[in-house]
């Protein structure tokens, strides 16, 4: 049984400090939804508010349409997986997993049966009598998940559960988590600062910054059509070109940026509308590294500019090429490892090109700090 979660104008304040400010979002039942943002953006606050550990200063949290005000964390249909897992060290793995049944008075035999079921779900059959400290990191993750799922909550909340794992394990767990969610079918609300995680696992993602919701949408939409400068730079890599609007014509914006003239698409405010620009407005044009190409016979797109190579960075499957324009602006773009870049020596001037369809113009705003 799964439920939807709705936040209506939720604010959480500590004194005059807004940990979360006027957040409104509706999470569909059965959805894998992520809150994405840097540390201190308010995602943990929201999670704790939804699970009942934090009181709201303003607004409401509704789960399954029911207002949760005044209902404590032990009475809400939510289960929270903590960042440090918070497994009970003095209990065995099985006892950990069926703890939620034990506190509800479920009998021993039924608990054992459920424990075995869940152990099988997380591929740890037969290890129920071990103590928590005898398991590896990945195994403990899975125990935490099983424990949270034992009582079949309507909503599962996950607080950066993978941040303590190494890269390979993290990638493996991402797939597993997604698989578990699909199989169990309940609403997952996941918070992370790692946008790769958010994008690979979620149906929809909400980007947060300094307590406020910047954008909510499908992963592809958030990536391709960022609504603000922050989202454009936090999700994925992006090249910001500070520019001034010259003219707007049918959704195509002509901007001037340090001697270069570019054509780009107006960014969206939300699914329905685009930003409107007037001539002379200050704006930022964003073009993703993977959308920039070296100009040659095959690549001739509507935007061209020149830059000098500074350095080439080898990242394994990609090569990142850093350049500087005449006006001292940093640009980077990437090519797959297989591409031959032997010609790109230091200080070599190259001509780069990109499509106006991939370039997005957004009002000037704060960028995500690296």
């Amino acid at each position: 049984m799964s439920a939807d979660v709705e936040l209506q104008n939720v604010s959480v304040t500590f004194g005059s400090f807004y940990a979360a400010k006027n957040v409104s979002v509706k999470i569909q039942e059965g959805e894998f939804f992520s809150f994405l943002g840097p540390s201190g953006c308010g995602k943990t606050t929201l999670l704790r508010a939804i699970s009942g550990f934090l009181d709201l200063s303003e607004g409401k949290v509704l789960i399954g349409g029911k207002d949760m005000s005044g209902i404590g964390p032990n009475k809400r249909p939510t289960s929270l997986i903590f960042q440090n897992l918070a497994l009970f060290p003095l209990m065995s793995v099985s006892d950990n997993i069926v703890f939620s049944l034990e506190v509800r008075g479920v009998g021993k035999i039924k608990r054992k049966k459920r424990a075995d079921e869940l152990l099988e779900l997380i591929a740890l059959s037969g290890q129920g009598d071990k103590k928590v400290h005898e398991l590896s990191g990945g195994q403990r993750q899975r125990v935490a998940i099983a424990r949270a799922l034992a009582i079949e909550p309507e909503v599962l909340l996950l607080d950066e559960p993978l941040s303590a794992l190494d890269l390979k394990l993290r990638q493996k767990m991402r797939t597993e988590l997604r698989a578990i969610q699909k199989r169990v079918g309940i609403t997952f609300i996941y918070i992370t600062h790692d946008q790769g995680e958010a994008l690979t696992m979620s149906d929809r993602v909400a980007v947060m910054n300094e307590g406020e919701l910047e954008q909510v949408g499908l992963c592809g939409d958030v990536y391709d059509y960022p609504n603000t400068s922050f989202v454009a730079t936090f999700v994925g890599e992006n090249n910001p070109f500070y520019s001034k609007v010259l003219s707007v014509d049918n959704g195509i914006v002509k901007v001037e940026s340090q001697g270069n003239t570019f054509f780009a698409t107006a960014g969206r405010i939300d699914e329905k509308q685009n930003h409107s620009f007037s001539n002379g407005d200050e704006a930022i044009m964003f073009i993703r590294p993977e959308s920039i190409f070296i100009k040659n016979e095959n690549n001739k797109l509507d935007n061209v500019f020149a830059a000098k190579v500074v350095t080439i960075e080898f990242e394994g499957n990609l090569k990142n090429i850093y350049l500087k324009t005449e006006s001292n602006m940093n640009v980077r773009f990437s090519v797959p490892n297989a591409v031959d870049t032997s010609e790109l020596l230091n200080n070599k001037e190259v001509e780069l090109t990109f499509s106006s369809q991939k370039a997005v113009v957004l009002p000037k705003g704060a960028l995500a700090v690296d």
Binding site: P73, F82, A86, S100
Partner: protein, 406 residues
Amino acid sequence: MKSQHVLNFMLGIYIFIFLAYLFGPLIIMSVTAFNSAEFPAITPWECFSWRWFQEGKIAYDGQHLAGLSTDWRLHDGLIKSLIIGLGVVVLAVPIGMAASIVLTQVHSRLRTIFYSVSIMPVLFPGVIIGISTVVLWDRIATIGGEGFIADIGRNGIFLTILGQTCFISTYCFLIFVARLQRFDQTQEEAALDLGASQTQVFFKILVPYLMPAIASSAVIAFLASFENYNTTVFSILSDQTLTTVIASKVRLGISPAISALALVIITLTLIAAIIYEVLRRREDRRKKERQDRLLFEETQDSRLKKETTKSFRIPKSIYVILFVLVVGIFGFNHLVKNNLYGSECVAAAELAKKSKFSEQLKLLQQNQVEEKALEGGDLGGNKDYGDIFGDPNLFKDFGGFDTKDE
């Protein structure tokens, strides 16, 4: 380099002297327990005897010097001490636990005050705590009129339990605070989130975590109560605990029965310490074996497979044991040779002393000896203590120390 050696050597001597200072009196005292002479001594060595552990003796001058097994006061005091100890544990451990948990829940300003007040009892002299308990409850008893309140307010055991709980709770408190500091708060939250009520969180998560602290504070509370004197001597009123009985022996006369008692306690302590150490080592070893086994399971690395060695290795302490054995054999030999043990020896010594006493009596009758010489040495006399423990009118409603029929 040389000066370092000299320094170390001197340090070694210093430590040796230090340890001798610590253990010397106790060792000597233990030895005197076996000397049948009335006053604890090593020289002159009268006879090797177990009498002070058993029946004691009636001295030639009429004084009854009880041995351990016949000293009814000692037994009575022991039982009272046990009762009080139990009472204190029952009160102090929950108090300490409550206080430590609440400490973690209050804001910082209140916390400092709370902590300071909780620590205060340890900074009070024990006598003050005993006195204040007695005066307060005496007042309560007076106001309370007849009946239960009046009775309990003047009951030595009740008052002692209260007085000791006052500061022993602080010991428990400190132990719990230390244990709580490393507690992971998110466990409580996780339990709540999984549906546990607050009470369930307390009993299923917090208390199991605090179990080691509960156990150790219970032990410490009991021991602290058992050996307490300063507070008890005031609050026990007309009753006695083991420690006050021992203290009263100052007035009744020191006999090697005290040495015997000390030796019994020392032996029990040593045995307890050895058992504890053995258990701890066994636990450590078992834990290590389990860890190795798990590691082996995971990695299947043959390097980790260790044969459990069953060989018995000679511990270094063998030298100490040999030394003790040699001394023991030598001493035993000496005893046997000089006929210094057994009941014949004791009887002979008694005879010698009796004759000496009658001689002195004769001399006294001839007015040639002052009375002082009969009071049995520098100690043991009532007047030497300014009557601290000797006031026969001390507790008017109490039967007094010597009124039990012997």
